[in-house]
């Protein structure tokens, strides 16, 4: 009954979405306020309906209603409640429902918070959101319905992949979708601007908060996914350049470029057509990512069979949702020329360089991910592309961007003084050289590239601080005045500094992986392994029972120089329903390095294989991402984005004047 309600709610939502696609658009072209405002109501209505549908599905999972096909396939009565809930989106149908939940959430947010937008722009934005929604509601209802019933209902479900029963993995899709789907708003703004035929500084200002919000969420989502892979898969790796990972990284790279080019549109009225294109491409990459991971065209040799009919439907959606706007772009963009002229060496020029390198890096990931399909289709060799290719080419392309990062904010608009900027950055260069030398002299083994990487991180960090210190005239005026300036700096300025610092932290974390050490030994109870100054003694291994698994639980005492550091309990778990074994890795972190211990299968005669890794600075990889997202949030909280207040006051005054 409840499931049927959910199903019905989805169907209603489709109807509303279709209405929203058409009516406000018509209203905007005619200037009819009533029709334009309808977009807001339908957006909120759709959101409410999808919340209902999602709640219905969640209810089915929580009550273990196995008469629903998706629940029977993906859940199990012995699963802990938390994972029953997160299991709602751990499969194709449920995750598509999460997708539209977030899509309609953003639509409703535009309706609620976008009251400061000109009504025709708002109407057009909501209309485009409506079109996207209609496409995905149709996709769900016709090919991926989560509310399909099974008759007769099985007594219990077939459970869920044990690897997925993890909190980190459970919250990673919502963040990712907030990112992917959040970029749909930037996309809608871009398409609305093309329909309207106008892009100006105001447009860039309105689009910025949505782009920032989506970007922050995607940064966190990607970081969570990477961190999950690190602590779950047991090899200490955190990025495999897997097609699914790349599907999230491509929109992130282009989204970062979009964030930066929108600044130029806002400040200097330039790069307009380019920014519109980026907004379309960012969301297009999100959609292409959705296609790639759900259609089955990009699986490794022995992955699970996918459903090609779903793939065909998504491809159709792609063609309409991306092809349409790109053709509109070809038609309208030439008339959208901007005014701002700038010299190559300038803030704008630096942002152009940023965009050039980021989009090339994104193109690299696209090439590497899609090339096997391309070659297969043209009848060539079957090849595979893995980390060796990506790390090499991506690394070569992103390095110039990292080096250029501190220069950009120090250059003036329209025409910048590179020499002056360089002089100010001498202290950053000094810091970089000092760090590199220190590492070269004191850290063993010697690793040239990694040393340069750490130097680069120092360069970016100190360079960002140099820019801030310029703004507050640190050491040049009285300290009290500096403090006053610092207090009055716009939040967006802090956002930039913090986000760039985050990049430095992540770069340092990545560089330091050259100094990771590993020990893989077969040990008996009582034996010890030494690694990086730690001593690990396997005390015992005993069987334990979990809610839906049996496990062998090791007790490992970690000491350093004789002093107790911690006791760790790695496990090797066996899930009887899925007939799968996984290892439960234990990690001890002091935020400067990780001690990573895995207990692998024993030989049945008291010997166990213990894998121990010591990874310096690895937590900084994800901490850096967190700092980047924090910077984004700072920017987002900048009062200047609340344009609504200023516009409302002006309109009130105009209204008063008109009444005369």
């Amino acid at each position: 009954m409840i499931a049927e309600l959910g199903h019905f709610a989805l169907a209603l939502a489709l109807v509303l979405a279709i209405v929203q696609s058409v009516v406000p658009l018509y209203g905007a072209s005619r200037g009819e306020p009533g029709l334009m405002a309808l977009g807001g109501s339908t957006a909120i209505g759709q959101f409410a309906l999808v919340v209902l549908a999602f709640a219905a599905l969640a209810h089915a999972y929580v009550t273990s209603d196995f008469s629903l096909a998706t629940v029977a396939e993906n859940s199990q009565s012995t699963k802990p409640l938390l994972y029953k809930i997160t299991g709602v989106w751990s499969n194709h149908e449920g995750s598509m429902l999460l997708w539209v939940l977030i899509l309609t959430l953003f639509g409703a947010a535009v309706a609620w918070f976008g009251t400061g937008l000109p009504p025709d722009l708002r109407a057009r934005v909501l209309a485009v959101q409506g079109m996207i929604g209609a496409g995905f509601f149709a996709f769900i209802l016709f090919t991926s319905n989560p509310f399909l019933r099974l008759s007769p209902a099985p007594p219990d479900g077939s459970g869920m992949n044990p690897l997925l029963q993890d909190l980190g993995l459970a919250i990673h899709p919502p963040f990712l979708y907030l990112g992917y789907v959040g970029f749909s708003v930037s996309f809608s703004f871009a398409v609305a601007a093309l329909i309207e035929g106008r892009v100006d500084a105001a447009w860039a200002r309105w689009v910025r908060p949505w782009t920032l919000a989506a970007w922050c969420a995607l940064t966190v989502g990607i970081a969570l996914g990477s961190w999950w892979a690190y602590y779950t898969l047991g090899w200490g790796g955190w990025w495999y350049w897997d097609p699914v990972e790349n599907a999230s990284f491509m929109p992130w790279l282009v989204g970062t470029a979009l964030l930066h080019s929108a600044i130029v549109v806002e400040r200097r009225d330039a790069l307009k057509t380019w920014t519109i294109l980026l907004a379309i491409v960012t969301f297009a990459l999100s959609l292409i990512g959705t296609f790639l991971v759900r259609s089955g065209v990009l699986t490794s040799v022995h992955a699970f069979a996918q459903d090609p009919s779903r793939g065909a439907f998504i491809l159709l959606l792609l063609v309409i949702a991306i092809g349409g706007p790109l053709i509109l772009y070809a038609a309208r963009a030439p008339s959208l020329q901007g005014g701002g002229i700038f010299a190559p060496i300038s803030r704008e020029g630096a942002l152009v360089l940023n965009n050039l390198l980021l989009t090339t890096a994104a193109a690299t990931v696209v090439f590497g991910t899609l090339y096997p399909i391309f070659l297969d289709v043209v009848g060539g060799d079957k090849i595979s592309i893995g980390p060796p290719y990506f790390s090499l080419v991506f690394g070569i392309l992103i390095s110039p961007l990292l080096i250029a990062m501190p220069f950009g904010p120090l250059l003036g608009w329209k025409r910048g003084d590179l020499l002056a900027a360089s002089q100010r950055l001498i202290v950053a260069l000094g810091a970089a050289i000092a760090v590199a030398l220190a590492v070269l002299l004191f850290v063993r083994p010697a690793a040239v590239l990694a040393t340069l990487g750490l130097g680069l991180a120092a360069w970016i960090a100190v360079g960002s601080l140099v820019e801030w210190s310029e703004r507050v005239q640190l050491f040049r005026i009285r300290f009290g005045d500096t403090l006053a300036r610092a207090r009055h700096l716009p939040r967006a300025a802090y956002g930039m500094t913090i986000a760039h610092l985050g990049v430095a932290v992540t770069v340092a974390g990545i560089a330091a992986s050259a100094w990771a050490s590993e020990r893989i030994e077969r040990v008996h109870a009582g034996d010890s392994i030494s690694i990086a100054g730690y001593d690990l003694r396997l005390d015992k291994v005993e069987p334990v029972e979990g809610p839906n698994y049996t496990a062998q639980r090791g007790t490992v005492t970690v000491t350093r120089g004789g002093a107790l550091v911690t006791v760790m309990h790695p496990e090797s778990r066996f899930f009887p329903v899925q007939q799968m074994s996984t290892t439960f890795t234990t990690i001890r972190t002091d935020l400067l390095s990780d001690l990573y211990v895995v207990l692998a299968d024993g030989d049945g005669q008291g010997a166990w294989t213990l894998r121990v890794y010591e990874k310096p600075l690895v937590p900084w990889i994800w901490l850096g991402c967190g700092v980047m997202a924090l910077g984004g949030l700072f920017s987002l909280s900048d009062r200047r984005w609340r344009v609504g207040a200023a516009v409302r006051r002006a309109r009130a005054a105009a209204g008063a004047a008109a009444d005369d």
Binding site: L277, S295, G296, V301, A312, V319, I373, D376, K382
Partner: protein, 176 residues
């Protein structure tokens, strides 16, 4: 001219969409053999139980089918009934290679389901499999009279596979 540049993104996307469309109808889960038209690797394997084994030079000069199987392999059971008849149907010998298996288990498997193979080699460590480019079981190879691998079929054989893939090739190879 400038207008044409603005058309580039749409053009690039169209090309991409076409590739995606074509790739939808392809099966990404099967890896084509790198050994097609290469000579089959030479090997000498002991037999299962007290049966004689299988060596490469024993079937030189004939068209043969080689099927990699194992007692622990579930799809092998699915294709087994078909294997019982395929040798007679196609008029060529069918040899089996027991991949990464214990001979006792293989013996039990065959006595339970029947033995379709003329000869069987026990590839206990999987080395012969690797030399053939095997990456899972079951896999079936067609070897021609000159000893070259001409076809590899991954996964269990179905009657359609035998009729459409194996039969015409075997017929052509036998005739030459």
């Amino acid at each position: 001219m400038r207008r044409l540049i603005y058309l580039l993104p749409a053009a690039a996307f169209t090309a991409l969409a076409i590739y995606f469309f074509v790739s939808l109808s392809r099966d990404p889960s099967v890896l084509p053999s790198a050994m097609i038209d290469q000579p089959a690797p030479s090997f000498t394997l002991a037999g299962v139980g007290d049966q004689p084994g299988l060596a490469r030079n024993e079937f030189a000069g004939q068209v043969v089918l080689i099927n990699f199987f194992a007692s622990w392999c579930v799809p092998c059971r699915v294709e087994h009934p078909l294997l019982m008849n395929v040798s007679r149907e196609l008029g060529v010998p069918l040899y089996g290679i027991d991949y990464k298996d214990k001979p006792e288990d293989a013996g039990k498997f065959l006595s339970e389901l029947g033995n379709p193979y003329g000869r069987i080699g026990a590839d206990r460590d999987g080395r012969v499999g690797i030399d053939f480019g095997v990456y899972g079981v079951p896999e079936t190879y067609v070897i021609d009279k000159a000893g070259r691998i001409r076809l590899r079929h991954v996964g269990p054989l179905t009657p359609a596979d035998v009729a459409k893939e194996l039969a015409p090739l075997v017929k052509a190879l036998k005739g030459s």
